[in-house]
Point group: C2
Chain length 131, copies 2
DNA sequence: TTATGTATATCACTACACTGATACACGTAA
DNA sequence: TTACGTGTATCAGTGTAGTGATATACATAA
């Protein structure tokens, strides 16, 4: 049930700062119930090497999460999940998703696609990448 | 058929540099057939004031687009669409959309949502924001 | 023609944010 | 103790955004 670096998706050239991508995904995993209080996040070095980024970048993300009270630094061991976010209910999690969905749909409309054509892209991805 | 600043959506705190958001959306409008050769983009000042950002930021975005050959600078007038991108066919435009869709769906899964629950968010947005 | 007003874009400079390399301090385990 | 694992402080390089001043284009009126 713990989290692996491979479950993160980092796009260094997306424009979104890498450390922010890490923070957002840790938050999502927490809300999604993939992380429980007391579990450890992958170490700074492990994350950095598997994601192909600098350890300091991961450290910065973890430091921000610590300030938020989401994780706790355990010397010599790593970062431990501290906050029980009560892994939000479905509505709350769907609400978290809405901004990503919104921007994708807006892009589709700027591209001149109909709702049906947009839905086709969504369904195709879901079909090709089963849960 | 020409483009208005209000059709752009800029999120200064999204992490994505503002000038990149502008560039991406101009490209999308072109592919979507919303812009024809010879038409003008909104002026730097008009875009900047309506989007609430600095004119230099818009100017930089336009400058990059000029380097790409997408637009042509007409001093004292503004930026004119230069490139006919043959407003891509549907498959091409759907392909342009796939990365935004991909990241939204991945976020949904990190949030522990089922495919059905993700689709619900999509359909809700489409319903509440008709074309 | 000449002068003026108003629109346009842009240059130079400053401040700040992000990333990565290196070296370090601290804790754990054998 | 020794070896290894943790996170991180510092500094340099680069990119982004904003401010203020400037240059260009054009319409209009004297």
């Amino acid at each position: 049930m713990t989290i692996l670096p491979s479950q993160f998706e980092i796009h260094p050239s997306s424009g979104v700062p890498i450390y922010r991508q890490v923070i957002e995904q840790v938050r999502a995993f927490l809300l999604g119930g993939h992380l429980q209080v007391g579990e450890m996040l992958p170490s700074v070095r492990q994350m950095a090497s598997e994601l192909g980024v600098n350890p300091m970048t991961i450290s910065k993300a973890y430091a921000r999460l610590e300030v938020e009270g989401v994780v706790e630094r355990v010397r010599g061991k790593g970062m431990m999940i501290k906050l029980q976010t009560t892994s939000g209910n479905v509505k709350q999690r769907q609400s978290e998703l809405s901004s990503a969905v919104r921007s994708a749909i807006l892009r589709g409309r700027q591209l001149g696609l109909s709702d049906q054509q947009i839905l086709h892209v969504v369904n195709k991805f879901l079909k090709e990448n089963p849960q």
